[in-house]
Symmetry: C2
């Protein structure tokens, strides 16, 4: 892929690996929310969309039919983890990631940049790249921008992502943010140089922490490169919702006329997603809904249910009345509470099916309201109703320990 | 249920909770194998049958649709475990075990007798019953024959089982076997006295260890009582296959004209089932196929595959060519081997689906051959082919640590 000094979007070319169209929707005051459709070689994705996370080429406890049933349109897998185990060359030989995990729908791979934060104790960063000490056997692994692309070209997701250097947004000094952001830009150019696979989209990552000027510089730097989509990184960390929103507003204002999809990395709680859609974001991922499910926390329109609470042991109602998921169609709160207490494997699958169904239906509701021009009203209503769902399982927890 | 001194089978009465019919099949020399059909209030069971074990009201890692897909016709749940957690009165209030676990097919509950062996370090036996120290919180629980019936009437399985006192067959002295067997007979009468639920069958348990005369006495004692079916207990333990077969031959010879179903408790490996069907047994249960699956051992017609072996990481073939299970229809050995190494939850479900499908299809093949009069030939063929499937995961392991 050739470099250029000006924004060039691949959507204009016929050989583009993906195609993104923003819907023509009623004007709505006071929001940048938008809906659209991302066409990939493995089918369409309707945005705004939440992507369940399958770090190890499996969304924990679910099979592909479960994923279709919960309404997943695209999932995320992890470049770093899969390169270490089972190995990207092995997956390539077996026919690529889609075939390997029997998922015939779109896949995006996270580049390994997030592991720069999540595995902070076992990595060293230089201009060349990141050296990880393997989380499995302690061996050293040089993760350069070029290597991140090589791995992703072997894995074969529909969308690859550049290697970046995120930093904790709130805890980092301006100097650290500036250094990491500048390096992320240099790595972005190296990733573009290295990327050769014409059937695979490549997204760049905007950094800049919580510093408005650094965010703006990074947005312009990354948007000027011919990426197929733009990730907003270095958020969904230790920042407050207000800090995150301020950073998003800086980014999105500069991308107003940019036709490419905008993907905020690592965000997963309902109210956080609502706010980011409001800010103009199209794509999201997080382990949060699935991880809290495995801990026995179920999301409903009325708030969170902690199934470890003894009162649920006698509750014959479904977790959520009218919910279409495997859990709610089949079992009572009492049964799930029993499974959770008995550490039964089925609990993980049922709870995960529910929370992913919940968050994907939540996104569908948002998408419909954008089409109907009623998103601002929906936002008020959901904020009022969803208060109880957020809180203890906030996104910072969701992202910080995710992978 | 009234006591009588002579064998009375409930199958002759119109109010019987179950009805068992042995098929009229071609005469086959040198085998007592038979096929039949057990009618219950939750549908029919074609015998010989293997019952997957759902100790805690869940067959580990599977949901009811998975169970139907693997071909389960009847499952087993555990009286002791469910009485402790979540409590039988709770399950009764929630509508009974079928409703609780959303399994609208037959259920048999194991009485708690097996825990006399499996929880040997935390129980005391008196003439009155067994006092367990709860495996959950250390509290004391008096499990009398009457209480075992009370629990099972509350749970509401189609088939309840008497409390018995099994002993390790090989390691026990004749004196110990004799004492436990006589007590089992006294407890059987107390269970019959206590049992009142007309829509629930009650099976008695034959003990007698490996002593031919004690086995024979126990067979006659239990068969003389008006049970709906006869369990053969105290086997599938530390005995050799030859010792087990000798004990079975004593039992079945005495039951030749008894129309009731015969259930050998705790047996689960293919060759062991084959031999026991040959001896004339109709019903089986074991945690073995599911437990070895969770450890990464997959059964195939050609023998066992240990998916932890590195050679499977590059193997694009299904675990078993032509197998109808979720795993083999969807994924490669390479993918399962990856999931097993990554300790991914999906591995447990996929491997369990396969091994249960395998053992249930194995039983279907056996049943068909009985109908066709070709069981003796099948037996020779399966013994030759299945040699590799048995061995390390023998039934003694399967039963001894099962629950």
């Amino acid at each position: 892929m050739a470099r250029t000094d000006h924004p060039v979007t691949s959507v204009a070319t016929t050989t583009a690996p993906i195609h993104f169209e923003v819907d023509d929707t009623p004007n709505m005051a006071g929001t940048r929310a938008r809906s659209g459709r991302l066409q990939t070689g493995h089918g369409p994705v309707e945005t705004p969309i939440f992507m369940p996370v399958g770090t190890n080429a499996t969304v924990k406890a679910l099979d592909p039919e479960d994923l279709e049933a919960v309404g997943a349109q695209i999932i995320l897998a992890n470049t770093y983890h899969l390169s270490v185990r089972p190995g990207h060359r092995r997956i390539e030989t077996l026919g690529g990631l889609h075939s390997f995990m029997a998922w015939d729908h779109p896949i995006l791979t996270d580049s390994g940049g997030f592991q720069v934060v999540s595995l902070a104790d076992s990595r060293k960063i230089t201009e060349d790249g990141v050296t990880f000490r393997s989380h499995l056997d302690g061996s050293l692994l040089d993760f350069t921008p070029e290597y991140a692309i090589e791995v992703q070209e072997a894995l074969g997701p529909d969308i690859a992502v550049c290697l970046d250097q995120p930093v904790p947004p709130h805890a980092s000094s301006r100097e650290d943010v500036a250094g990491a952001t500048a390096r992320t830009h240099r790595w972005a150019e190296r990733c573009l140089e290295a990327h050769t696979r014409p059937d695979q989209a490549l997204f760049g990552i905007i950094q800049g922490g919580l510093e408005a000027d650094l965010r703006a510089d990074s947005t312009q730097a990354i948007a000027s490169l011919p990426f197929d989509g733009l990730c907003i990184g270095g958020l969904a960390g230790d920042e407050s919702p207000a800090q995150r929103r301020a950073a998003l507003d800086v980014v999105i204002a500069l991308l107003e006329d940019d036709p490419r999809p905008r993907y905020l990395m690592g965000l997963g709680s309902p109210l956080d997603l609502l706010d980011a859609v409001d800010a103009g974001v199209d794509m999201f991922d997080s382990v949060l809904p699935a991880r809290v499910a495995r801990n026995g926390t179920l999301w409903t329109p009325e708030g969170r249910l902690n199934l470890r609470n003894a009162r649920f042991l006698d509750d014959p109602r479904p977790v959520q009345e009218g919910c279409r998921c495997l859990l709610c169609r089949t079992f009572s709160r009492a049964y799930l509470a029993h499974l959770v207490r008995a550490d039964e494997l089925l609990a993980f699958r049922l709870a995960t099916c529910h929370n992913l169904t919940f968050i994907l239906d939540f996104m569908t509701t948002i998408r419909s309201s954008i089409g109907a021009g009623s998103f601002p009203e929906l936002k008020q209503e959901l904020r009022a109703r969803q208060g109880g769902t957020d809180g203890a399982d906030s996104d910072s927890e969701g992202r910080a320990k995710s992978q």
